[in-house]
Symmetry: C2
Subunit: 554 residues, 2 copies
Amino acid sequence: MDKYVIGIDFGTLSARALLVHAKSGEEIADCEYKYPHGVMDDNIPCGKKLNRDWALQHPQDYLDALARLIPRVIKKADLTPDDIIGIGIDFTACTILPVLNDGTPLCFLPEFMQNEHAYVKLWKHHAAQDKANKINNIADRRDESWLIRYGGKISSEWSLPKLLELKEEAPDVFSKMAYFIEAGDWLTWLLCGNAQRNACAAGYKGLWNKKDGNPSKEFLRELDPELENIYETKMGLPVKPSYERAGLINKKGSLLTSLNEGTAVSMSNIDGHACVPAASITAPGKMLLILGTSFVHKVLYTEEKAIPGICGVVEDGILPGYFGYEAGQCGGGDHFAWFIENSVPYKYYIEAKEQGMDIYGYMRSKASGLKAGESGLLALDWWNGNRSVLVDADLSGLMVGMTLRTKPEEIYRALVEATAFGTKTIIDNFISSGIPITEIVAAGGIAKKDPLLLQIMSDVTDMPIYIAHTPYASALGSAIFASVAAGSESGGYDDVYEAIRNMGKVDDFVYKPNKENVDIYKRLYKDYRVLHDYFGRGGNDVMKRLKDLAKQHD
Amino acid sequence: MDKYVIGIDFGTLSARALLVHAKSGEEIADCEYKYPHGVMDDNIPCGKKLNRDWALQHPQDYLDALARLIPRVIKKADLTPDDIIGIGIDFTACTILPVLNDGTPLCFLPEFMQNEHAYVKLWKHHAAQDKANKINNIADRRDESWLIRYGGKISSEWSLPKLLELKEEAPDVFSKMAYFIEAGDWLTWLLCGNAQRNACAAGYKGLWNKKDGNPSKEFLRELDPELENIYETKMGLPVKPSYERAGLINKKGSLLTSLNEGTAVSMSNIDGHACVPAASITAPGKMLLILGTSFVHKVLYTEEKAIPGICGVVEDGILPGYFGYEAGQCGGGDHFAWFIENSVPYKYYIEAKEQGMDIYGYMRSKASGLKAGESGLLALDWWNGNRSVLVDADLSGLMVGMTLRTKPEEIYRALVEATAFGTKTIIDNFISSGIPITEIVAAGGIAKKDPLLLQIMSDVTDMPIYIAHTPYASALGSAIFASVAAGSESGGYDDVYEAIRNMGKVDDFVYKPNKENVDIYKRLYKDYRVLHDYFGRGGNDVMKRLKDLAKQHD
């Protein structure tokens, strides 16, 4: 009898459940649940105002998502809970909350409901930047061995800055909580009763390392004497890889989800990393490129290398037996959105309308009519700063080559090319550090929608680009891990790679480099790199001076 | 009894006559005549096609302009020819035509009507670039003394490249013509019977110099043996300053214009240079800034200095007793027009309409609401290349500092600021070469219309900016010289400076630097200059490589 698994992808604004065949990975049904509280960046439910840079969520939304999505997606597939052998979830990260030792979120308690620190701090909560700076300074001075794994600098989005923020700014919440836990881990705990940390989030966002464990007590003592033992106490849950089983649905989990008790639950995963199995990547050489508002890059390798300017490297962080590397571009599709919003002239809207196209499609079609190099433009893709390989949020955009004949579609295309040059810079950084990359698999919202970007990306990188077949790559990745958690005895897989080979899929159509364009983009990329180093590595810090000046008016 | 003079400004698309009081300079009447043939850049009247870069005019249009404008403007002022004591004209330059020794243009002869070289070559006829290159190379190798007076490089727009073009590409026209003459000089010849060259055009566009005369025979022989004696033959007319009398209207001139025989005619002038007297500039220290699609800068000084990157320096070229210096920015208002045309989003058009503003006014009002430095943007104003001080048409635009929060009005303001930084660079170049500048007088189409540009220009240069009172500064300048040509006996002036003091005018309102902005712009200008030198002086020739690449697709 056919068996099925469910993957649930918890995104920033909604959760999506995907029900797939536990052997073939065929997608049977999906449904989405929008969080009623969305992103709380203005106030918490009692009306209390939040400062700038805050971003919270309400944990009730996640519970409601589970309770509604699972019965609904099973019904939509015309199945029953008996047909479901496993469930897996992936989550944004680091999205983290303080809970009691029975798992109750502190914000559910009347005494903390009005304390903003008792809620979920969403990944893009940026208010702990001063804490991140403090951590970076101390780690850098002490030459902490883990720092290089994160390209030499950790982000305010990660768990330790958020923990320090709690400790310093909400000591009552800090003292009351039993655990400070990733939301994904909190959910698997509620489902199966086992409180654990998934190695992916622990590794990429929590400074955990398979060999060295957590940051040293000496470091923590210097950071804050009261945090010395934090990884044995409030951050002290056991770590387990995301591709392993977290446990089995227990009574409470069954009540919450309507799934049968005993259904397998895989460890939680980070949403982006869950795309790797969905994109059918099982070995080094193939880079996953997630194309969204920002771009994210994941690649596997057999050894650990010190690579400047990456986001992180985690052993078994993505798939067993490999070091999983992550890099990223702070800006990707948001460059194009910025352009569409701010720089498309009136007449183009009229023309688009006359031709029955949306403005994105119209700009893409105009830009597609241009040849590589024809615009005479070159840009640096730093409108939102640079993550890899410069790790500098204070960099900004640049465009050169404009003349009185420059057309909007040329500027649009130059922005697309710039993001491709940014990806090429990351690929070259990996390759020159000894990590081979010869092919790309693209996933994410833009991958299916923007052939112009994909072709330019292929021409610039001189690599074939495969496209992840599913539009819901994270959810499919979670479903694949659910099938592994269930095991072959129940109708799933025992081996994660066998599961990926059968359940992950790419489209038949492959973007292949156009030789003529490859040669032209090689020339342009050379100039991109000169500008990249001049403006990004201290040759001319004008971008920082401009930002400083602009900030005086904030 | 009150006497009057007429100034006629021959522009690129039309001529404008301005009738003013010969003593006070009060503007009584004006009218305009659009050239029926306009700019011929596609074909000549017989239908023959023109190559790219060609720009011709028909001399009949100038005659028709004189014949129509003069009676019309006199009638409009309710006066008669008896009231008119002088006429002066200014012209675009180098706008030049081949004529017989009675002044007949070769294009009027049936045998040459179908030869494009027989027509007027307009200032912006750019087809002789290869000839200009040849001249520059030989002059540079021979270290010709005149080259430095033109910033080290002459333009394809000037008379010698156009002459060489004629000689090489139309030997029959070359051999038939008696003179190759500036259109302005041709008209004064027709009016008063004296064939002469005005020192302004001869100096700024014709390589003539008061001390050294014309380029040497040795140089000319090397350029082309047949041109060795050209400045004694076909270019051999006597040179006379623009502020002197050309002659008196003769019978033919009277028939053409309806003016009385004996009416004084001043020497022709270049249109931009004619603005200097109209802007009431009579001494060093005050720079005339002509604000149009491009920007032009004129300043007087008592000595000749070798200044890199200027357009030219001519003794008595603007006013008697001074060396007149000219510099320029290839791009000025055309940057703003490019932006309005290509980069203003849909919603801004809607908002402008709702507020009853035109889109320029709306963008200016939004950009005016920003503070100096607030945008975080900085641009190089080279969309149309750089004239002064880099003399490099192959440079292009640059903008740095864009973020996802960057708004269209910020980009617009950055372009305005960039043109001001460009002017400041030219001023600093003059000052560091020993030419004092402490005040600016602005003229030209934008001067009265764009308070945002003027205020930013004042803040960036840290100088007060006066505004030429008349919107028709060239025509008024020609009228002032006409009054001098007439002399005090007829009701005009004997002294050109006395005429200027009485007839030239600036507005009461003066733009004054805002101290707070001055300090911020000093910081930004420092960065502008670093980028200016990096991209403009060989630090990074990316702009040229991008243009080369783009040209391959032309």
